[in-house]
Amino acid sequence: MSCHGAEGAQEVTLDRRTGTPVVALVGNPNVGKSTLFNALTGAHQHVGNWPGKTVSVAQGEWRTPGGHRLRVADLPGSYSLLPDSPDEALVRDVLTARPGERPDAVVFALDAANPARNLYLLSQVLDTDIPVVVALTMTDVAARRGTAPAPGALARELALPVVAVEGRSGTGLDRLADAVAEVLEASASPSRSAWAAGSPVAAELAALAGPAREAAAQTAQPARWLAVSLLCGEEPPGVPAALAGRARAAADRLAAAAASGSASASQEVDTDAELLVAEARYAWAHAVIERAAPRPVQSRPTLTDRVDRLLLSRTFGIPFFLAVMWGVFQATTVLAKPLQDGLGDFVSGPVSGGAERLLEAVRAPGWLTGLLVDGLINGVGQLLTFVPLMIIMFLLLALLEDSGYFARAAFVADRLMRTLRLPGRAFLPLVVGFGCNVPALAGTRILNRRSHRLLVGLLIPYMSCTARLAVYVMIAGVFFGSNSGTVVFFLYVASVLLVVGMGLILRPLLFRDMKEEPLVLELPPYRLPTLRVTGAQVRQRLSAFLRTAGGIIVATAAAVWLLMAIPSGTGLGGFGKVDVEQSVFGTVTRAAAPVVAPAGFGDWHATAALGTGLIAKEGVISTLAQTYSAEEDGDPKLTASLHGTFEESSGGHGRAAALAFLVFILAYTPCMATLAAQRAEIGTRLTVIGFGIQLAAAWLLAVGVFQIARLVW
């Protein structure tokens, strides 16, 4: 599937209807760019294009103290304009778009504590000839190390405006606004791109400048950027063949000259134009730092390094990692459970009861009461029970990310996830999936690549959540007695195997271009998370979840109520008064019974339970109880009825059928809320495909388990 190809073609439209100047916020990941964005735009922002559709970009309005109104786009953090991910491709596409669609200015967030690699990206941004203002971030960290570059000296070296800012306190934002206003007013800024000076690349670039300018008139890309990217082996679309040929020849000359210059030393390594360009950019960066910073940066062990030697060591690395994951799991299950139940009880109890009495008082017709109370209020209640779970999940994510441990966890899990060609960070949403699939799906946003998000989004439903556990415990208790613990354990093992197996099947089928990726991961220093940043992240993610999945969860609950309320024929009772068995829902699940007969549980009671289980697994047991008119689980009548049904439908292999039923519960769609969350994260098409695969897998596995197990039992 060409997920990546489709992304390359997407267009980013910066809102220009108002004629407001557009400022793009550019910088490496983890440099305080988003903190700066929040400080600049305050409440005037919106996040568009959620992952699963396209790359997400936050835009906002910046009202400067000088009375200017600017539109700010917070572009994804990236390391390079030669993209390695869709996020980075987006940054490149925005900065090298047609002249009228380019941002009017770039605010470049430069991490004072990590200047060299930041200057590398800056040198690329300068190649696009968009006016740049440098916002110097993390100056406090750099100052503690004694390596903070002075803004004045840096401005002199770069020939650019440089303003030290502190997003969290708002320091420097006024001066940043002035500097941006100034570059916007200056009509044409002279090119500041100086990195090539003194390098062998300079002469070849100069020779390419003329033809590149001519080509740029057609391709509408910045001329200098065009020349450099051609030299690095890129093939931007629409470049005349003559220019591409000249660039290739220039690159060959550079490589040959470099090879002859150091014939002995670099026989084993390949020197090419790309390497020379990178070398030249870094040489420039180091020269700038040397002149602008009080003392040169040196790798000396920091506190973070000492902690890492312990937390990443062979002795403590894995136990600590597992302990953290266990903590995440506990928090999203044990801690969230009472909150969830409390909210659920509150809605189904006082709220529903109150609404019912109120409707009764105004003599509302029965169907309206049913729709409002059993449909809508019940649906909103279901949605609400997810809220504490989501808050806990997003809080943990934010804490792990802000503290810096998350990158370490990704490093530790890298080896493990490599089997599925997924990055180590994919481990976390999968672990959360053991608790509940819905927050786990929202958690896939921590993955940088779309194809990784899509694959993990398809795998999460196979993680056995706690709602399924309740069904396992009940059914296994009825059929396996003292061995039920072993059966439940087997189901969890099966869940992990299913995730791995499905990953191995789906990846080559749907994501053929997903390569095993090398790990080159920046580990940020450990930090104490701040309440403000963490809180803002939780709020943003929660509101996104409610917006994208909330409506669907409520709507499906109402739709299912409707199916149960509509009688499947005449004379069965009016709308909203029919027995479940004789509703449209009952008729459909009855018709489905023969389909699962090869799995040994081709019986109406079982398929009706699976039908409500599709809405939420909590419904399985109550439906079984309802259809046998038993009280609830633990009722001796229910146990006896279940035994009878399964023995009959399986031809005397009740336990084999029960195990197959449990495997079906494990593998098929966990709940409607999961489907809604999936749709929000991976799109409608893949959600539908995934749904089909889940049903098919559940059926195949259940049939397989029954046919094998009945030989034994």
Partner: protein, 75 residues
């Protein structure tokens, strides 16, 4: 020529080049992170499941062992 993988934690080496090895984006990404010829790299720790944690100036970068093996270095 020794690779970064052969270096013990605590030592600082200079990058001499990147093994062409397999094709793909990793060579470019390594260059972009600053693993260019002449760069001083300090090995800080070995990962619990393999791989290296290295320091490049004030940046800390985690590498899987295969990638670390592609980085040629000398003193």
């Amino acid at each position: 020529m020794p690779s970064l993988n052969d270096s013990r934690p605590g030592t600082t080496v200079r990058i001499t080049g990147i093994d062409p090895g397999q094709a793909g984006g990793s060579r470019r990404r390594l260059l972009e992170f600053g693993f260019v010829p002449g760069a001083a790299v300090t090995v800080i720790a070995r990962g619990a499941t393999g791989g290296l944690l290295v320091g490049l100036g004030d940046t800390r970068v985690a590498l899987d062992s295969r990638t670390a093996g592609r980085l040629r270095c000398g003193r």
